[in-house]
Symmetry: D2
Subunit: 387 residues, 4 copies
């Protein structure tokens, strides 16, 4: 709710691309998750707040019946924003009342924790989607009135890691998603990772040297994508009177060359690495790297400002397709549709970003997107093989 | 503005299909028309209210520069509804101030009159679009709280007209669009038109006898359309527990068999006529028919209720493609794009509907839509040849 | 069969666009027409040559059951070309045997005549399709080894016609299609038609003055088309080292500026006329014009060479949508699908072309195509209103 | 050439889906590979057989200039089949002449070997494509006149493998593709693989129990695919009068329940495994399995007949996305586009099939296809985890 405070009513309604959801949909969907998985599952007598909400706010759980088409979420003026606020308040109260008067089963405790983690994921999506909604509009609108600081120039070093069998995945001392489990052994060859994220300066050189027109730099599907897009640059960059600018949640700023590049897709990350005669890291390498480095501080901004940070600035694309770990089991029950069924065609990203809620990410955390998607806060940390 | 009174803020923003525009867009576009064609054309010194509004609220006037894509009007949360209200107030005041202090040229007087007629057209579109926006939403919402009356059974007669050369087109005593001119002679063969509009009862029989599955009833393109659609019935009909209902701006009602059928496309109108071994009228025949009949009263409802009315209930599809009359000239200036460039691929409808503003329609008035479009208040008046 | 003599086996099989059919398909389809409408209709005992051929070679007669998708005709290697030749021979023999031993009913006589006219239509389509198939291939292939003559410069005059009621449509002394009937009266305003077809010289000026980039010259749908196409010129023109060439059935030649322009669509014809501040004729005007002029000689070439010819060089686009005449009746029986169901979305062309078989066309003959289609031998004869 | 002996001229030309290539294209493309990579690379003076052939028969090597669109290979009637035969003969002779009179560099020897392996890959594609071309045609045509034997019932056992670090990839004693290298260590958990391929009987039970309508069995993309397809069964199965049949290169046969199921896509293989509460193997597991089992005999048929065979019947889908091995390097030169650029969005298949040329496959061989593709000879070998 706090994240939506800068919005006016109209901002809650629009959906500026099929990937984006209207802010009011996020608010209703995360509440529906508690209503459906917790209140309704808990009691056969439960009377739903509004029988249509299941259809409207179920995202993709086929076991729960038909749901509204994702790409059509922006055509719904009703329920109004106020009605969604009431819905949230009502379900929150019912959940809290339940918490007080009931002995919670393990399953209920799990759903409560899952629901909170789920809501945290949607907090990040909310910021991604608000950014997209505001950015497509020629009427310039700032989400945050704070100005972004200029970034300092950072020095790049290679952090080296030795060959061997490493343990990968959830260490088990706290909540984690099913896709992070089980912890398992992985044979890793000697590698090095850059101490810094790729900056706008580096990426601009890639752009301006005509890389989007050189097929030898691209995967086959990436080349098809690069030819089909007119925007041969990161999502929120634009050129005006010969100068580059970037739309951020803090408003438009002249492109700051020392900030990390953000909002590029897998094809672009992969082509950039090839252009540099390096490669993207695997997800195992990034997990090992994150384990070996102290956490960086959380960002105070809704935009990456520090290319030297270890984590929490931009999600780093990895070359690892999103697949199950050896011995993987889906969550039980309706939550089985949470992660496993998406293990096809996507790539893993690691490390969190400025939109990720404090405490939501962890070293074993696996984010995943399709290779053509750009609206996430995604950037590049380069890797190389060591002999 | 009065037509939008039943709406909440969220209703102003959404666009439930590419053909539909958000209500706030209609409000801004019709005001932009006055700002652009009247204030800005009138004075080179004119400073636009907001320089971005031209791009956002120009519909299709290529001579005025690039404009926002029609299908993407619903992704714009800004300007807000209140900002649009302010825009309307501001431009209205400027226009009125101008009216008082200036001697108006003929051209300006024409633009003022055209702008008012343009706004009347958008009043009808506004109702069509509000209806579509509310109807796609499973949360049932009424635009009007009035209940619709039951329709009475009407008796059908054939009104006969003699062969001869008829004068067709604008009679010239008031404003008319360029597409109604010039008045011209047309050779017409003897024909008869039904005194009543086709009713839900008649159309339901067409639906339930499997007509959407019989290729012999359809035009070739109509058959392709009929096979591709899952909704083999008028746009706002639906079946629930074996009974037919219809969504209206007055809420859902059990299908009233005596009301005129409405929200069908050209293909359906044409197939229905063929099924009845009759045909659709030409636009000339309908104009002759309207000339020969006294005007009916305006509807008090936002839905057709009287199949015996001569006009003003539903637009009647004609078999006439929308083309220019002999000697046709486009309006001059930017308004040349108003009508002429759409004379390809569309069919003419005649007679006005319940959403048409009082006084906007006339006997020579030519409405036009693509053969697959259904969201207008369009119905059927049957014709036949007389030997 | 004679028209396919220049082809090699492989040429009979390919389909270079969804509109085009493989030559062997034309050969089989026109024979199937006789088998199905004549032999099979004639006797319940008739045993079809191959039971699969109905499905494969029915074009669009829904009453005769499911048929192969038009756009997939080029995926069929079988029946082979020799098998199609055998099929033609066999059905021809059966038809001839039948002719000798039976007293023919009126219906059978009609079908025989219709089948022959149908085959003549496919002779023209065959040439259009062969041209397209050969033209898309970078391996240059000539259909005819004859060289085209250079065209002479022709002088343009305006032929004037008086206002009045004219009789339009089939005069009734020979075979005609249902769409040419009935003969009927039409009120026509005074007009003039050009004595010459638009030449490559005139059209080249239109192309090179940037007309494809000027929205004010185009219909709304035409402008969408013009923006979407990369080929902003007649279908078989191409530019090489700064010079224009044209692919013809007689091979590639340097663009001959005095030849009639050919292979343009309705949008281009309409925009050209607007650019010249003239208009396209109506189909009635062209029929009156053809009636008033002596027939020109048949072309000896498969490409238009004479801009001064009255007819038989290129089909002239008219501004008339393809609709039924007053009192129109479809052919009876299965042939009812021949013409009437296509009366939506197409425009009429008049006058025949170099690919039309001698004797197939006539003054009342109505050809029709979609406004975006270009592969016909279609060109422009300009018209203007007379006060 | 031998593989095309059963074909008639027309069969060489058609392309029954965008994935399929006309047989004459395969013949020309594999010869072009030698011409381009060997003869032309070898001598700057080399004069190409036909300068257009590079454009027509380059498949996807962007470094070699523009190439014909894959989906449009079937629109080319020229060069004719005989001309392609001549082209093959001519280039073969030039290559052999060169072999005799030149001392071959390592690079040339590599290209020669690569070209032969490339041609072997196209031998398999040729059979896949011929099958598809013949199968879509309602005129039934057999590629082979031999009849297929009935398959015997086979007994399934689980072959177990221990946990540990295994060596994976090319063992280096013969030719291999870049994607099989380098040989590298992989940590593998204990697993078991089925001794038999999934049979038609097992798959039919999956089909007939309504599995294509149960979302819980499918990946998210798989479910979208399953809803969009009307063919909810293996590619060449069809039902007639209540009985199942299968089209094979030996003609149509009643579905033989004991034969291995073939022509299913990744989504179907994955859903089948889930339905059986098992899983697909990883590519490493299948390589280990193949290493541990004696090679089976080559098939004498163009259709799988033996579910108990270890290899060479159907390619087994693995759950492994097609990615590079640690330390992977592309082939050098133009051949760098051979494999690496396709490492996105595809899944690995292992073990060879009845269409694979004798001696072409090996344990480390990685085949790969998109998850929706079905026209390969692909089937299922099930896996499970061992505690």
């Amino acid at each position: 709710m706090a994240l939506t405070e800068p919005l006016v009513r109209e901002d809650f309604v629009v959906q500026s691309s099929p990937d984006v959801s209207p802010p009011k949909w996020h608010l209703a969907h995360t509440t529906w998750f508690f209503e459906e998985f917790l209140l309704a599952k808990n009691s056969a007598l439960y009377k739903r707040y509004n029988p249509e909400f299941g259809r409207l706010f179920n995202s993709y759980y086929k076991a729960l019946g038909p749901h509204w088409l994702q790409s059509e979420r922006g055509v719904l003026s009703r329920p109004t924003v106020d009605e969604v606020f009431n819905y949230r308040r009502n379900i929150d109260e019912q959940v809290l009342a339940h918490l007080e008067k009931t002995v919670w089963s393990d399953e209920m405790a799990f759903i409560l924790e899952l629901g909170l983690n789920h809501e945290e994921q949607h907090q990040e999506l909310l910021l991604m989607d608000i950014k997209h909604n505001l950015a497509v509009n020629p009427i310039e609108t700032r989400y945050s009135s704070t100005s972004l600081p200029r970034a300092s120039t950072v020095k790049t070093e290679w952090r080296e890691f030795a060959e061997g069998v490493y343990e990968i995945g959830d260490v088990g001392d706290d909540f984690s998603f099913d896709n992070e489990k089980p912890r398992h052994k992985n044979y890793v060859y000697p590698f090095a990772l850059s101490s810094t994220l790729v900056t706008n300066k580096e990426y601009l050189e890639f752009v301006e040297s005509g890389s989007y027109l050189k097929p030898e730099l691209w995967l086959s599907l990436g080349w098809s994508w690069a030819q089909s897009t007119v925007h041969k640059h990161p999502l929120y960059w634009f050129k005006k009177d010969g100068a580059w600018f970037e739309y951020t949640l803090h408003g438009v700023e002249a492109l700051d060359l020392e900030k990390p590049v953000v909002h590029i897709n897998y094809f672009e990350a992969d082509a950039f690495a090839r252009w540099r005669k390096l490669r993207l890291p695997t997800e195992q390498e990034l997990e090992i790297y994150l384990d070996a480095n102290l956490s960086s501080e959380d960002s105070q901004f809704f935009h990456p400002t520090d290319a030297a940070a270890m984590r929490g600035q931009v999600w780093a694309w990895t070359k690892s397709p999103y697949v199950s770990y050896p011995g993987f089991k889906n969550f039980e029950g309706a939550a089985q549709e949470y992660n496993g069924k998406f293990m096809c065609g996507q790539f893993v990203l690691r490390g969190g970003c400025v939109a990720t809620p404090r405490g939501h990410s962890r070293n074993s955390y696996r984010n995943f997107y399709l290779p053509e998607q750009k609206w996430m806060f995604a950037g590049i940390r380069l890797a190389k093989d060591l002999k």
